[in-house]
């Protein structure tokens, strides 16, 4: 997502008018590949929004369902010969549906939690550091008032136990590399991404402003995020909405690649084969493809292989665009398809750089295994893999 502040000013026209209905997008869409039904294609979603905007189709529950059965992965945008901005169009469509009271029930619960707790988990925001509680000693960055770098942990890693190990690994790596960093703790709020993709920009803006103020209060010159969506927000959306940040914004993989190449971290060999899953928000939407691969190449004896679809063509894991909240079954099916691609490479490690991708793909692996697919595969975050190899 880019240029969100202008969403309200854009007419539907500019966004969909140039769809020539060639159908090229169908074959790239993970939801379409799953159901092979036209209403689950980008072309249909564009047609629906257009028909509604032109007064030829009423909003309905089915209409809203179709618009929400999309991970906003933007694989379609990469092949569109006419340059239709599908994500922007659908985000605007979702905003209209929200106004009409047709927000997906799953997504509504999510946004209600955000309003009440400033995070997506439903827990009180004072529990932000729950992921540090089983560590032998608290991270050095906890409770720090001043630091050069702010580590923005993100909601999923902070509150969902299966993801705790990502910030745990990240803080250990930061400390091993001798970084002066701080955690925001209970002062951290949701980055605003889930609200934006469900079309609720004003509420997102409040949280964005709050987070920026907290980071500035630390006197930090750098923000690093291990969540690609948080990173994408900080890197691209925050400056558009809030103006020049005066901060360096890094994704954890960028920081880690530099730290390894500068020799600030030493790794033990890991004999085996790894494949890397490009998160949509990190790859297609932020253009970061090399940093995570540079990191993997720094692990001695680890062979990096690519899945059938990778880099800009990477298939979405199914975890994007609030699809998991809206329709867990479809999200799971998409994850299975992606994990199968990893199984096909013969890799022992399926690594991503996103807690949501890890969650979704771990679920996909479970579903595949239940179906009897023999998969000797471990789904991990890049931070976890590298931290395990620290000398």
């Amino acid at each position: 997502m880019t240029e969100t502040t202008r969403l309200a000013d854009l007419t539907h026209d500019e966004l969909y008018l140039h769809c020539i209905r060639c159908g090229l997008c169908l074959y790239t869409c993970p939801a379409y590949l799953e159901t092979l039904l036209e209403p689950d294609s980008p072309r249909a979603r564009i047609a629906l929004v257009r028909a509604a905007a032109e007064g030829r189709l009423d909003y309905s529950e089915r209409f809203a369902d179709r618009i929400h059965r999309c991970t906003l992965c933007t694989a379609c945008e990469k092949v569109c010969p006419s340059g239709v901005e599908v994500e922007k169009l659908l985000v605007e469509g979702r905003a209209d549906l929200a106004e009409a009271g047709l927000l997906s029930p799953g997504v509504r619960r999510l946004t209600e939690s955000l309003a009440a707790n400033h995070n997506i988990s439903g827990e009180d925001n004072s529990r932000r550091l729950i992921w540090t509680e089983n560590l032998p000693q608290p991270p050095l960055g906890a409770g720090k008032a001043q630091a050069k770098m702010a580590y923005f942990v993100g909601c999923v890693s902070s509150f969902f136990p299966a993801s705790y190990s990502i910030p745990q690994s990240m803080t250990r790596l930061l400390e091993a590399a001798g970084e002066d960093y701080a955690l925001l703790g209970e002062q951290e709020q949701c980055c605003g991404f889930p609200l934006l993709v469900s079309g609720q920009e004003p509420r997102a803006e409040e949280m964005m402003r709050h987070n920026l103020e907290r980071v500035r209060a630390l006197g930090a010159d750098t923000v690093v995020a291990s969540c690609p969506s948080c990173y994408h927000m900080w890197k691209h959306v925050y400056p558009e909405v809030l103006g020049e940040l005066g901060l360096r914004v890094l994704h954890a993989t960028e920081w880690l690649a530099d730290a390894l190449e500068q020799g600030r971290l030493k790794l033990k060999p890991l004999p085996g084969r790894v494949t890397y899953h490009d998160p949509c928000d990190l790859g297609r939407k932020s253009g970061i493809y090399d940093a995570p691969r540079r990191v993997l190449r720094q692990v001695p004896e680890l062979e990096l292989v690519e899945m059938r679809d990778h880099h800009a063509n990477a298939l979405c894991c199914g975890g994007g665009g609030n699809l998991e909240s809206h329709n867990p079954d479809l999200s799971g099916a998409l994850a299975e398809r992606r994990v199968q691609q990893a199984v096909d490479t013969g890799a022992q490690y399926l690594v991503s750089a996103c807690q949501q991708c890890k969650r979704t793909m771990a679920n996909g692996l479970r579903l595949l295994t239940k179906k009897g697919v023999k998969a000797r595969l471990r789904v991990m975050d890049l931070m976890e893999l590298v931290e395990r190899q620290l000398e």
Binding site: I20, G23, L37, A47, G83
Partner: protein
Amino acid sequence: MVNTAIVEELRGIVGADYVLTDPADLASYAYDGTFQERRPALVVSPATTAEVVAVVKVAARERLPITARGMGSGLAGASIAGEGGLVLSLTRMNRILEIDQENMMATAQAGVITGDLQNAVAAVGLMYPPDPSSLKHSTLGGNAACGAGGPMCLKYGVTQDYVQALEVVLADGEVLRCGGKNIKDVTGYNLVDLFIGSEGTLGIITELTVKLIPKPAATRTAKAVFPRMDDASAAVNRILLSGVLPSKLEIMDGTTIECVEDYLHCGLPTDAEAILIIETDGDAVNAQREIETAAQVCKDSGASEVQVARDAKEADELWLARRSVSGSLGRARPNKLGEDISVPRSAIPEMVRRIKEIAFRHELRIVVFGHAGDGNLHPNILFDRRDPDELRRVEEAVADIFAAAVELGGTLSGEHGVGTLKLPYLEMAVGPVAMRVMRGIKGALDPLNILNPGKVLPRELHCERA
């Protein structure tokens, strides 16, 4: 009329998820690759031939018109259902059933994506040559039903030349299997060819067996810029006369060059009247010799600039301009109407001249590109359908283009089909006797007129039959 009982019966056949009646879902099946739009009464998406048979039997009993649809990339309106009709979406029938290496044939369900079949057979060193530009997003069944072509058809022939056998569900639900793996077969009428290009009006193709060829080892590419269209056209004939049969021989006219340059800013010569892009294939030595011959012919025929790609990367760069035509047009104006007239090769310069004149007369922007080697041109009219006056001028221009093509010994469609867009001009192109024969065939195979009525032939067949 579709009532609840029929919907329930169809759900019983294909499963509840695969009968769609909600207006939002019907709106998703209202279009194809043209600017036309009409919502069907319902959509049914079967997974097997047996399910297709059962659905067709219900439709026949209820006199419900059926429009078969693949991925809806067609360019003639053929897969848009008529008023009150049922769209039969075949995308779920997507299994490749057999790759027979010994006989070099593949058998697949109708909903298999053409590009998927190409990849599957390439993995064993074989090639399925028909290459419509929609190959990644169109189905084998749709390609056969609409007679798809593509750039490589100059050397290797069109879809029709590769379909060996078909399984077709007829209008009464009977299953016809015709053709086979025999290269030669004159046992009775050629029923396979009858269904090619029939656009779902004679039967519903559910399975195909197609011929494959060994994959050529090498390809070479060249680009030639011509200040004059006549010279480009003459070069095409001279290349073919020189004994070189390129695997692709594509042309872009001056307006196309301008559009692509506006979009790509890659330094295309906007004062040139034509660019030819030539590809040869075969073993490496042969492909190289042929591309050099073709390049020399272009130089001798008045090309101002000829470039032979040294490697695959350079070849890809030469193709970039041609590949970007579609995108550049989409960005130039909201709508485009892509025609695909076919004229004898010698008539290409005159046809392009007439199209320019038609564009001028109707105050429209028309670009011309296409397959120069076989005379199949794609005049694309750029417009905005929200402007009623412009839309009227587009319709007039289309009629003029068709009339010009026929006058020059050409025809309406090389590879897109008739659908609804060319239907009004069909008789002009084929004459009254052919029309009577076509109606006879339609009446024999689909007496109830439920198979995609109103496509290829007018919806009302009876008065003409009498």
